[in-house]
């Protein structure tokens, strides 16, 4: 089993809190977490609802393996309609909050309506209570976490919280749990704040039993852990360098988007990558990286725990930042570094701390700053808007300032909180926005990694690397090497990655396991833990069903095949250096085949046959 089979429903408008059984019919079709919560969302909200209105719902959801001893079995997701993209939003986080929710006896929390004044939700096993949070509103995630711990006098509570950016309406605000893990993308934190919900505090002492076949499950878990330990990426590269192991690799293949994606290689990459985090600094002889760290149950431990140089301009007068906290991971380091042209690792770490402290998605934030820098350099934005700050590429001071004002929603920070698309539209240069469906790109330039262009264009939540990470195949050779400069054959590759990832995200596991695990490693763990038969084939079917469910919702919300595209820059402006020199992304070569493989019409519309095949709700 491993589902607790219980759903907590919280109506923020009425204050009514109720318990209901998990829809097991849906669980068998959609597994859990991403898939299952999306099924609930599709059933319960109108696709065209206002994402920040009371009619949107926010579902905090776990998978069947969340809270088990399976490696990485600690994930949860936040699912809602996104205010940034207008599509379905599903943001995945690690840390310890998701497992704790399971230990308290809940598979998911459905949050609906909007409270009249700020509240937080307290869950102690079976008992859930809404408590006034006027004293927490206006506080950062870190400050609110501290206040909640003081109030509850229980060091073992787990807390998910939104920061000031979300309260101020920044459209890419995250839900931050355990101080520095985040359901980061698509503005799920903004939705949480729109319900006047500041935090969810959970303490679970019931534990998670109910494993369908405990003996076989333990054997599959042991087998899985061994595969992760023996693999070069999950056993060595990620523990030593974290995801930052990629910085130099991606730069060398000429796919490191630089200065708002105008270039594809960054001269300062080695100054801000994983290796640089190990280099002792002059001031105190300590490296940026203190240690690696794990989320619940994870035997990879890719997370970075870092400090900022105390003599650095950003923190020399701010001892509150002289602590260890969540350090740079690749996507954040890229968005804050190469994409803004800043090669100062302490500035990047400081801004990363601020993103954690006030819950901003560092990918969208960094990319938006990059767009703002291009707007500034071309004169579309002037010092009149920035209050005198020279918002130029490469300026660490400007980057730090931008993070400070966006975190609090002050001055030009309000504009930066709009995200790249709305910002560039506001200042008359929509072509400067490096987004798909309104969401900012992550750290792989699709001119140098062709499959990623298709993955970005067709992603159900806008530009995203976690919806179909063909980088694994095209660069790292996992499960098999394909040529990153070749667009042929990528349609099938993208589809396979998209479907597999949807299934992994729905199991409660971390997608990073798939550097080592195939579905043949994952399905046996799900099969032993859950009732029913969960073969590799069924897992892939579930993944494809989930993909189409998301796609169908987006179509009903008005986000259609016409939005499956990339910014002109990536389709028309050739890469100027590196192995991809002279290349653009060949999206038009891949998209028709992709639609065909998916069973969509030539314009990307969902067909009745496909809808029927997957028994999608009407």
């Amino acid at each position: 089993m491993s589902w607790t089979k219980k759903v907590l429903r919280v109506n923020m408008s009425t204050g009514n809190i109720s318990e209901e059984p998990l829809n097991m019919h849906w669980a068998h079709d959609y597994l859990g977490q991403r898939g299952l919560a999306t099924r609930y969302l599709v059933d319960e909200i109108e696709p065209d609802c206002d994402a920040l209105g009371p009619d949107n719902k926010l579902i905090m959801t776990t998978g069947p393996l969340t809270g088990t001893i399976a490696s990485t079995g600690g994930r949860y997701s936040a699912v809602c309609k996104s205010p940034l993209t207008g599509t379905v939003a599903c943001s995945n986080s690690g840390g310890f909050f998701g497992a704790e929710l399971k230990f308290a006896g809940w598979d998911m929390i459905i949050l609906e309506g909007k409270a009249a004044s700020p509240m937080y939700l307290n869950i102690e096993d079976d008992v859930a209570t809404l408590i006034p949070a006027d004293d927490l509103w206006g506080q950062s995630v870190w400050a609110a976490d501290h206040l909640l711990r003081q109030k509850h006098q229980d060091p073992q509570v787990r807390i998910a919280c939104v920061g000031r950016s979300a309260e101020q309406g920044c459209l890419y605000s995250a839900i931050v749990n355990d101080l520095h893990r985040a359901a980061g993308r698509s503005g799920v934190g903004t939705v949480m704040a729109s319900k006047n919900l500041k935090a969810v505090v959970v303490r679970g002492t019931k534990g998670l039993g109910n494993i369908a076949d405990p003996k076989r499950f333990m054997q599959t878990v042991r087998d899985g852990k061994k595969v992760l330990a023996d693999n070069a990426v999950t056993g060595e590269g990620l523990p030593a360098y974290g995801t930052q192991v990629l910085m130099n690799v991606i730069n060398e293949v000429g796919a490191l988007p630089t200065r708002n994606m105008r270039e594809t290689q960054f001269e300062g990459a080695s100054d801000v990558g994983g290796e640089a985090m190990h280099v002792p600094r002059k001031s105190d002889g300590k490296p940026n990286l203190t240690t690696n760290a794990a989320c619940f149950s994870c035997t990879i431990a890719c997370a970075r725990i870092s400090t900022i140089d105390r003599t650095h301009f950003s923190v020399k007068d701010k001892p509150e930042y002289w602590i260890n906290s969540g350090g740079l991971e690749y996507e954040a380091a890229w968005a804050l570094g190469p994409d803004t042209g800043v090669d100062d690792i302490d500035a990047l770490t400081y801004v990363n701390f601020l993103c954690n402290e006030d819950g901003m998605d560092p990918i969208s934030f960094g990319s938006t700053v990059a767009a703002a820098m291009e707007l500034y350099e071309t004169g579309a934005i002037t010092s009149e808007q920035t209050g005198g700050v020279e918002l130029k590429f490469g300026s660490a001071e400007a980057l730090c300032w931008a993070a400070e004002v966006t975190a609090k929603g002050e001055g030009f920070g309000v504009d930066l909180g709009l995200g790249s698309k709305r910002l560039c539209e506001k200042y008359g240069k929509p072509e400067f926005s490096m987004t798909v469906k309104g969401q900012e790109f992550p750290a792989y330039d699709p001119r140098g990694i062709q499959g990623m262009g298709l993955a970005y264009a067709t992603s159900n939540r806008g530009a995203c690397h976690l919806r179909g990470y063909t980088v694994a195949s095209e660069i790292l050779g996992i499960p098999e090497k394909t040529d990153p400069l070749e667009s042929g054959g990528k349609a099938g590759l993208v589809k396979a990655f998209q479907d597999a990832t949807a299934a992994v995200d729905s199991a409660g596991l971390c997608v990073f396991t798939t550097f080592a695990w195939t579905m043949d490693d994952i399905a046996p763990q799900v099969d032993a833990a859950c009732e029913g038969d969960w073969s590799t084939e069924r897992m892939m079917e579930v993944g494809e069903r989930i993909w189409n469910l998301e796609r169908d919702f987006n179509q009903k919300a008005g986000v259609t095949g016409a939005h499956d595209t990339l910014p002109e820059r990536l389709l028309k402006e050739a890469s100027a250096s590196g192995p991809a020199k002279g290349r653009v992304n060949e999206l038009d070569q891949m998209l028709p085949e992709y639609y065909q493989l998916r069973g969509y019409s030539a314009d990307g519309s969902m067909t009745d046959e496909t809808r029927q095949k997957w028994a999608l709700p009407s």
Partner: protein
């Protein structure tokens, strides 16, 4: 040869596999709140420290127990709680200087590490060898080796 559960906090990543494994074998569910071993996270310092019963030779918990519910297991030196005899008075939890014996409100008994009868599950689950089960007479061997390697002769 008597063995000790040895903890090297420097290797711990805070994943809680040990807590899951402990609660799974003792409580038949993954339930860190009922684990006999606990990992403490010191966020600002960036440290993770596992902590559990050290199996004192002169075990104060055992001496304090008014009903002799805590007994020495001669095979591995662990001090084990006999559930049938424990009355849940919690005196042992006061006596223990380290706080590693605790009351379990679900059962009304106290719980502590018993080294799983000489085959500790937490050690098997730990992915980084932060936990090991080694010769009780030489728990300092790794530290000695590390310091020895820093002498001038190292690498000669």
């Amino acid at each position: 040869m008597q063995k000790s559960l040895h903890i090297d906090p420097g290797k711990c990543t805070g994943c809680l596999q040990c807590e899951s494994a402990c609660s799974l074998i003792k409580e038949e569910s993954v339930n860190p709140s009922k684990s006999r071993i606990k990992v403490f996270t010191f966020h600002d310092e960036g440290r993770f420290v596992p902590y559990t019963c050290t199996q004192c030779d002169e075990a104060w918990c055992m001496q304090a127990c008014p009903v002799d519910a805590i007994v020495l297991n001669p095979l591995n030196g662990s001090k084990d709680v006999l559930d049938d005899i424990c009355v849940g008075c919690k005196v042992c939890t006061i006596a223990c200087p380290f706080g590693t014996i605790n009351y379990n409100s679900s059962t009304g008994k106290v719980i502590k590490c018993d080294l799983c009868g000489g085959d500790p599950e937490c050690v098997k689950a730990c992915p980084t060898q932060a936990l090991s089960y080694i010769d009780a007479n030489a728990t300092g061997l790794d530290k000695m080796r590390a310091w020895a390697s820093k002498t001038d002769n190292a690498g000669a």
